[in-house]
């Protein structure tokens, strides 16, 4: 299997890359929605993310990647407490996946061969403590979206069917990508994504040429290309790990909280979720930048990402929510 295209080698698309890095620093930001035109590197970035993320330690036999044997769900009956380091799971939720496949269901093999009722974990279990990626998220069947909404909210997958009664942790960062021309996203699902990015293909000829050149190098000079960019990826990974550690000691002054609240009120974003996400994103960004305190600057850099999909949606207002957020930011925070 060929190595995925390295994350650091993606040209431009800084917002998208920043959003993904922020979720890697603080997974509770809970997701990135990447909407944009075709051929802008949406899926490339997500595939690259898998190579970038720091590994996690998980109980070897645990189907839901629990960190500690006491977190393992009771039904999987694990006695072996040994842990191993595994790559952060990045699980693909394919379009057309069945409900059974997503939530898990009766293990037919065990039922057939041994006549016992066992649970076969699904994608939600695999994605626990990692990422769940949905390409073309706007084309996802409604009944899968319903499942997703519930699990993304509660962090727990509950299966009550076929005489099974199973629950397990399912906390993951949701990454969705799609092309808005093919259909819109339900507002409820949109809300579950912490950050949202609008990707456009770059209008800069030089950048575009660079994209083609790197792609060419990736195809034709694979080893050298990967070796070169893997070191960049390693640097970025080290920064992410450092930022995670710094997050705990990060000072969040009351003035920053006030700023965030002011912004959200001025924008009329629904609920408190926007405020919370913006705060988390700003903190993650401050930690990533190596600063000790959250400042207006951090809020300014992350507000569009965290809020642009949360404005009270007027489907007919086409002035673009990004520009609305940007305008309000400059009103509240000054330039």
């Amino acid at each position: 299997m060929k190595q995925p295209f390295p994350f650091s080698a993606i040209v431009g698309q800084d917002d998208m890359k920043l959003a993904m890095v922020l979720t890697a620093i603080d997974p509770s930001i809970a997701g990135v929605l990447v909407f944009g035109e075709r051929g802008t590197g949406k899926s490339t970035a997500v595939r690259a993310l898998a190579g970038l993320l720091p590994p996690i330690t998980a109980v070897t036999a645990c189907p839901v990647n629990s960190a500690d044997v006491k977190d393992c769900p009771a039904w999987c009956d694990i006695s072996d407490a040994s842990v191993q380091s595994i790559a952060t799971p990045v699980v693909d939720l394919p379009l057309g996946a069945s409900e059974d496949r997503v939530t898990g269901a009766l293990d037919i093999e065990k039922a057939l061969t041994k006549g016992e009722k066992a649970f076969q974990p699904g994608l939600f279990a695999q994605a626990n403590r990692g990422y769940l990626y949905i390409d073309e998220v706007n084309l996802l069947e409604d009944h899968i979206v319903d499942l997703l909404l519930d699990v993304a909210q509660s962090g727990e997958n509950v299966v009550e069917r076929e005489g099974l009664s199973i629950r397990h942790a399912a906390r993951f960062v949701l990454v969705g990508s799609g092309n808005p021309e093919e259909g819109e996203l339900r507002p409820q699902l949109m809300d579950r994504f912490g950050l949202s990015v609008d990707v456009l293909s770059s209008a800069n000829i030089d950048e575009r040429i660079e994209v083609i050149k790197r792609r060419d190098a990736y195809e034709n000079d694979h080893e050298a290309f990967i070796a070169h960019w893997q070191s960049e990826d390693a640097t970025l990974r080290a920064r992410i790990v450092a930022a995670r550690a710094a997050l705990a000691d990060l000072q969040t002054p009351d003035s920053a909280l006030r700023r965030v609240a002011e912004l959200c009120i001025a924008l009329g974003s629904d609920g408190l979720r926007g405020e919370l996400t913006l705060l988390k994103a700003a903190r993650a960004f401050a930690a990533f930048a190596g600063d000790a305190t959250v400042t207006d600057d951090h809020i300014r850099k992350t507000a569009v990402l965290a809020l642009r999909h949360r404005l009270r949606r007027d489907p007919l207002d086409d002035s673009g929510s990004s520009s609305r957020v940007a305008r309000t930011i400059s009103e509240i925070l000054g330039h």
Partner: protein, 550 residues
Amino acid sequence: MTLWERAQLAITLLAIDPQRLGGLVIRARAGPAQAAMLAAVQALNMPKVKLQHHMTPEVLNGDIDLSVSLAERRLVMRKSIFDCAPSLFVLPMAERCAPQFSARICQALEADLGHALIALDEAAEEGEALPAALTDRLSFHVTLDDLALQDLTPMTLPRAIEDIRAAVRGVILPAELVQEAVTLAASLGISSLRAPLLLGYAAQAHAALHGRNEVTDDDFKLAVMLVYPHRATRLPEDPEPEAQPDGANPPEAAQEPTQAKPPNDLMIEAVKAVLPAGVLTQLQSAAKQPASGSGSGTRRKGNHRGRPLPARVGPKNSGARVDLVASLRAAIPWQTLRKAGNPKAMGPIFKASDLRHKRYEIQSDRLLIFTVDASGSAAVARLAEAKGAVELLLGEAYARRDHVALYAFRGTGSEALLPPTRSLVQTKKRLAALPGGGATPLAAGLVAAFNLAVQERRNGLTPTLILLTDGRANVALDGSNDRAQAAADAQMLAQKIAEAQIPALVIDTTIRPEKTLQTLAGTMRANYIALPRSDAKSVSAAVSSALAQS
């Protein structure tokens, strides 16, 4: 280079590098040309797999193979249709491909399995087109409609195709050609970055075909002719403003963007030479309405898939489909017990009570066809208010996830401003840009709306017609300015709409309610609402309640 030679070249290049080139769109109606092309495709030394539109997710994604599992008493999975050696997938009637299906194909093409796709585009009607996600990933596009029978010569692949295949990855693409590819794409209005990539691959394949290890200008030009023309969204009339990135891109201090040189005229000529005549006019109209993509909402069906409900117990009616997996699941927990009662039985023991039936919940999507009178008389009176009312309705349509289509009639005929879509932002843009003025060809507007309603009903949508007019029809169907004839034509169409049982709603935009329009609404069996002399909100409220009743 003739059309057929170009088609053959496309297939040869595809044979050289199927994985990176992705595939080929063949636009032709079923006929000798398409058959010859498919015969040519046979020359490709790859297994061929035909895709069908009714393939279920189980086939596409793989699932439990029940019969084998039961026979062998162990779990046997059936592989996904894409899970095989590098193959050539053939997708007939690709223009009818549902977005979910095309998305799955795209994912398979990108999964690095070495698959390629031949998409047969048999689009006949305007608005039918391949999903843009597919055309973006397939390098080539050949239109065979203008081929004569004598042109069709059998094709042969170069003999040492394996050697060429091995050599293609090593072909060097000079940096200035990369730049050329990108500039050319920008000047043709191709925004996807896949296009220049595919162009590079095609040029490399062509160079390898001729035993070169570096791409020459000739290779490049041929590749341009194969990859770019069908992607172009505009022609570079004046390359200067396009070459310069616009103001949205702030100049970076550290890195002065190289002055993008205008693309090579020769290349643009090459693209122009390949463009069929009709495409040029399409380009020009596209330039007026810079909307990207066809909006796949056009072809979406409402009834062909439903939300599967939990399978139900009992064979109540013989027509219901047995849900095998669910039945099996119901039976399995009992097997050990039943085996104990009947130790000699082979395989699982089923009882009638285990049977489960498939159920789907089907909800037909609604299509609101707005037919707006933009004539001078209406414009003077209430066009602005009518627009406001429509906008509010659109907001509600959005909330209910209805599809919306927009027609306007004025002057001598009607104009489709927007085919059925869910993209309300587009609808609003088109509506806002709608000019007013001219005569009132009410009948022409009704014809357009009626045809669309009938067509989309076939596609499984539930159409509702919303007519906003002042009812002062003064242009007849034949285009003459005969008031009496115009009124008669409108009545005749209203009759047809009533006969077709299309739910309709007539909104009177005059200041004083018009008697003739009330009669028309009566004939149409439509709800009639006079636009009260008040704000758009109350109209919207009136319409919503009328719609709720209908």
